[in-house]
């Protein structure tokens, strides 16, 4: 299978990019950051090829099991990062995003790729639409999570006046806060559309648009939290620290929705995509 070979090369690229990013942040060498960026671009291109090859080889949108889902999540995160990179040009954002993508890819490579057999439920056009919107939303919120962590790190260094090398690389608190809002304004509609397309699909497959399945419920829980953050920002005037903490909590919930529900709770979204009726 070509896709598995491409997957391994992508993993190598992400690994090299992560190493260069960390080297850049630790030693503050711009050259290293530039190399890292090109490695990440190369890795992303290969990742696109990996997904396309898998799509062709297995004949369905490759988001049906843990291996495919983690890889797809990493792909959307890197893709969304490049969109932010166009606007903000922050090497340090890459230094946080890239290791996250690498961890997801390592997780993906550890999970069995599985046979190309899917539950008849997944044979629907709503499936690619639903997962793409949902994962894009997740990826945008992952960036918000990273910006939140950077905000708290930066703020702590400013308050304690103990500056590590990272300090010189981190953007201003203001920029980080604006990333927080940007992410919210893209992530929230994406997530909303992800949930709605999921409901449409569920209605055509199961005869009910909402069944309080643990996955649905956790997506709604996360949606409630981001809605709270949104209203806090827009009307009460939450900024900075509180918004950063909310983005972090929201993403932890999101990760639980994505992974925890499948691994710990029972429901229709389990990665055992091969279960019969």
């Amino acid at each position: 299978m070509i896709n598995l070979v491409l997957f391994k090369i992508t993993l190598l690229f992400y690994f090299a990019a992560t190493a260069c990013y960390l080297f850049d942040v630790i030693t503050r060498r711009d050259q290293s950051g530039k190399v890292a960026r090109w490695l990440l671009i190369g890795g992303f291109a290969l990742h696109c090829a990996t997904l396309a090859a898998r799509f062709v080889e297995v004949g369905h949108t490759p988001v049906t099991n843990l291996h495919e889902s983690l890889s797809f999540f990493a792909w959307t995160i890197v893709g969304i990062y490049f969109l932010f990179d166009l606007r903000y040009r922050l090497t340090v954002l890459g230094a946080f995003v890239c290791p996250l993508a690498l961890v997801l890819m390592i997780g993906s490579s550890a999970a069995p790729a599985g046979p190309p057999e899917i539950n008849p439920l997944l044979q629907s056009w709503w499936f690619p639409v639903h997962v793409t919107l949902a994962f894009l939303g997740n990826a945008v919120f992952a960036v918000a999570f990273i910006a939140g962590i950077m905000y708290l790190l930066q703020e702590r260094m400013l308050k304690s006046k103990k500056f590590s090398g990272l300090f010189y690389r981190l953007p201003s608190l203001e920029t980080l806060d604006s990333i927080n809002y940007k992410c919210l304004s893209f992530g929230f509609p994406l997530m909303t559309m992800g949930i709605i397309t999921g409901a449409v699909w569920a209605n055509s497959a199961w005869g009910g648009y909402w069944r309080w399945d643990p996955k649905e419920t956790w997506a709604l829980i996360t949606w409630f939290l981001y809605a709270a953050l949104l209203h806090g920002r827009l009307t009460v005037g939450w900024r900075g620290r509180r918004a950063a903490i909310f983005a972090i909590v929201g993403f932890v919930c999101l990760l639980f929705t994505f992974l925890g529900v499948n691994l710990l709770l029972s429901g229709e979204h389990s990665f055992k995509s091969l279960q019969g009726p």
Partner: protein
């Protein structure tokens, strides 16, 4: 109304209009929703008692934790949320309506002071000329302005995307519409499940949580059912029911294939392919040829059941599976007339296989039939289209609310001797950084225009 009473009413109204209530409710809904994902919902008491002690069971039961999303307290939270949503909108909407319908055409110094995007100039041209040029310029670069004359001052006002302010209200209204659709569905609709044996039909369905069957008003017949499997693992790839709908004995829908993700709807009732199960044992049709006499006999055998053969002896099918190359293959255990045991193997796509065995009788598998029950989810939900209207509004409303903004530009002209003083300010109700970029560009063109 006494002052006290009015205070109380105002206090209640303020409580429901408060954004703090909104945020608290959102967080409360999020936290309480977790319960239903940890405790399995809508199971039988026996199933719960396997997991919980009797005391725990009683406590959880009295808190309605076993069907928490329909419990009085969860519905109360949703009710409060709706009231909060309505109250906030009622309070804020008139002001927004006024902003849109009756825009502030004249900016005074107080208003100018609030703008971060501000520009002042003095040009060596008479006011009427500047006014006409700027009005044309605004019309070309932004939007046609409204000109207001106030004493010797002249004010220009132009705006774009005023209706973007309604995006938020469309989104909020959509939530109420979705709730309405959900209530319609639960009051006027039902969900149920039926098993139909191939060849048989049903005309009523027992709703979930109910005991009295509801008549459909028509008959649904399952003409046939088929399932295909992935090679090797035997996992189902596709399963399909051929359904016929009969009304007063007349077929109104004929031979409609129903598969997962492609349901059948008739008169507001929808049938979804949901599961299947084999009905009884598989039946095998054999032709048995006597090697000596050359005579054929047709025998049908149920899986595992011994069948007597004419001319003595018997056999039974003890193993069968589907082979990618040979079709259905079956293994037979034969008992000859003399009481000896033999084994034979037959395959659907290799009819001569058993002849190679050299036995007294030659078995050929002619037909294999496994009857199935098809399991269909039945749903009647007259509120579902309302929910979809709400969802569409939510998507459109939130896209407007997030990505469009109401942008306004004010210009005030004042004669200073023979020259004209120009003051210009602008603001956007959303996406300030984006507006700033636009305004900087606008200023450059503006300077080129007036110089």
């Amino acid at each position: 109304m006494s002052a006290n009473k009015r205070d109380f009413t105002t206090a209640i109204w303020d409580f429901f209009c408060s954004l703090k209530l909104t945020i608290s409710l959102l967080i409360l809904l999020a936290v309480t929703s977790i319960i239903g994902t940890v405790i399995q919902q809508n199971r039988s008491p026996e199933q719960y008692l396997e997991v919980y002690s009797v005391t725990t069971y009683r406590v959880l039961e009295s808190l309605q934790f076993f069907d928490m999303y329909h419990s009085w307290w969860f519905l109360t939270l949703l009710g409060l949320f709706s009231i909060n949503l309505i109250a906030c909108s009622v309070k804020r909407f008139p002001r927004v309506w006024k902003t849109v319908r009756e825009p502030v055409l004249v900016a005074d110094d107080t208003l100018y002071r609030t703008f971060s995007n501000l520009e002042e100039h003095l040009v060596n041209q008479p006011l009427p000329q500047v006014r006409d040029r700027l009005a044309a310029f605004l019309g070309k670069e932004f939007a046609s302005p409204v000109v207001t004359v106030e004493g010797e001052k002249v004010h220009l006002f132009a705006q774009k995307g005023a209706w973007a302010r309604f995006g938020v209200y469309v989104t909020h209204l959509s939530i109420l519409i979705i709730f309405l659709g959900a209530i319609m569905g639960s009051l006027l609709g039902y969900k149920g499940y039926v098993n139909i044996l191939e060849g048989s039909s049903i005309d009523k369905v027992v709703p979930r949580g109910g005991s009295e069957p509801i008549p459909l008003g028509f008959t649904v017949r399952c003409d046939s059912f088929s399932v295909s499997f992935y090679e090797g693992t035997g996992r189902p790839k596709e399963y399909k029911s051929m359904l016929t709908v009969l009304e007063n004995g007349v077929a109104v829908i004929k031979d409609r294939p129903v598969v997962v993700n492609d349901p059948l709807t008739y008169k507001g009732i929808t049938f979804y392919q949901s599961s299947y199960q084999p009905a009884g044992d598989a039946v095998f049709q054999f032709t048995v040829k006597d090697r000596q006499s050359g005579q054929d006999q047709n025998v049908s055998a149920r899986f595992g059941q011994p069948v007597k053969l004419a001319g003595g002896g018997s056999f039974r099918v003890f193993n069968a599976k589907e082979d990618p190359a040979f079709g259905i293959t079956a293994q037979l255990e034969l008992t000859t007339a003399a009481g000896e045991r033999r084994f034979a193997q037959v395959a659907q796509r290799a009819p001569d296989l058993d002849a190679l065995r050299g036995g007294e009788q030659i078995f050929t598998l002619v037909e294999f039939k496994q009857r199935y029950f098809t399991g269909l989810q039945v749903a009647k939900d007259p509120g579902v289209w309302v929910v979809w209207v709400g969802c569409t509004m939510m998507i459109i409303g939130s896209l407007i609310a997030f990505f469009l903004s109401h942008r306004r530009i004010w210009i005030t002209l004042q004669p200073v001797g023979g020259k004209t003083g120009i003051k210009m300010g602008g603001t956007a109700h959303r996406n300030q950084p984006g507006f700033e970029l636009f305004f900087d560009e606008f200023k450059k063109k503006f300077k080129a225009e007036i110089s």
